[in-house]
């Protein structure tokens, strides 16, 4: 090895090692000293860096095997637990999201249903395709029989909203009575000519009034002498509304 450690020359020492070291310490500047200083600085630097990197990295280096295994097991169990928890929380989240979605859907469905029912019950104004029926009654002979018949036919043909003379909305509870100068619909005295607006499929509605022995025929019988004009329209507007009538006796049957 060329480390300068080759065979110590014990045969001819002018000085003892200790004396030589002491003498050199008093006489600091020499090329050898500076070289040694530089190399020792490198060594010190590298050593400290290494010690620190080891100290930082290996907390578990000195532990016994059983301890390490136990540590590993407990870490594995902890991660298992955490994963379970994550799965559970994700499940909760998705179920909550589903809940919200279905609630949203139910709400929309309810809104739609409320609209439909509102139109049927007459609490909402409506617009759509339909027909406008004008019943002229010069002799005043058209009464409840004929009109009721006509309204029934329109209902059967799927009319979703019906209005008479732009004053009375015809709903499920509507009643017709013969009055002095025309019919009384829900307590409102109407006089001819009657204008019946109905929203629905125009052809079906028109057909429902027009068949042999139907509304038109009944009104135009010689004894009555009325006249019926049916106009199919794309944009029938029914603006009259009814206040919702609270039911006095019937209550919704609770299913739950």
């Amino acid at each position: 090895m060329s480390t300068g450690t080759d065979m110590p020359d014990e045969s001819a020492p002018q000085l003892t090692g200790r004396a030589r070291l002491g003498e050199r310490l008093k006489r600091p500047i020499s090329r050898g000293q500076i070289t040694a200083a530089v190399l020792l600085a490198v060594l010190g630097f590298a050593g400290v860096v290494q010690v620190q990197s080891i100290g930082a990295a290996d907390v578990y280096a000195g532990q016994r095997q059983e301890d390490l295994i136990q540590l590993l097991n407990s870490l594995a169990a902890a991660s298992q637990r955490t994963e379970n928890e994550i799965a559970q929380l994700e499940e909760t989240r998705s179920s909550l999201r589903n809940d919200t979605d279905s609630r949203q859907a139910a709400l929309e469905e309810a809104h739609r249903e409320a609209d439909v029912l509102g139109i049927l019950a007459g609490t909402l104004p409506a617009v759509g395709t339909g027909i406008v029926v004008t019943v002229q009654d010069p002799s005043g002979a058209v009464g409840t029989d004929q009109l009721l018949n006509g309204l029934e036919e329109l209902r059967d043909a799927g009319a979703e909203a019906i209005e008479i003379n732009e004053t009375v909305r015809v709903i499920a509870q509507t009643s017709l009575t013969d009055g002095q100068n025309g019919v009384i619909v829900d307590g409102v005295q109407l006089s001819p000519p009657y204008t019946i607006k109905a929203i629905g499929d125009p052809h079906t509605l028109a057909g429902a009034l027009d068949f042999t022995g139907g509304f038109t025929d009944a009104v135009e019988l010689p004894g009555i002498g009325g006249r019926v004009l049916v106009d199919e329209a794309d944009n029938v507007e029914i603006a009259t509304i009814r206040a919702p009538a609270p039911s006095e006796y019937a209550e919704p049957l609770q299913n739950e």
């Binding site: 300068g4 450690t5 110590p8 014990e10 190399l39 490198v42 060594l43």
Partner: protein, 110 residues
Amino acid sequence: MIAGLGLLVGIILGLMLQPDVPLWLEPYLPIAVVAALDAVFGALRAFMDGIFDDKVFVVSFISNVLIAGLIVFLGDKLGVGGQLSTGVIVVLGIRIFSNVAAIRRHIFHA
């Protein structure tokens, strides 16, 4: 004197800078430090014996570090890096012990 100061400066620098060891250097640094330590004790012993030569010290320091690193590198490539590092450490340790023993004999005459 200056040598001791150099060692001190190196240690202080290392403590103050606290550099991260680059990953490729990680397996070699401990071996290199031990090899350098061996060179330093060898040099100290040679100094005591009166045969110290700074050129020999520099060459032995650098070649010790390089050879130690090379052996570990070779061991890693052959798949016996751990064992070979242990071997190098053992050999260097024995040398350090014998050098320290010679130094001790010089200083304490025992």
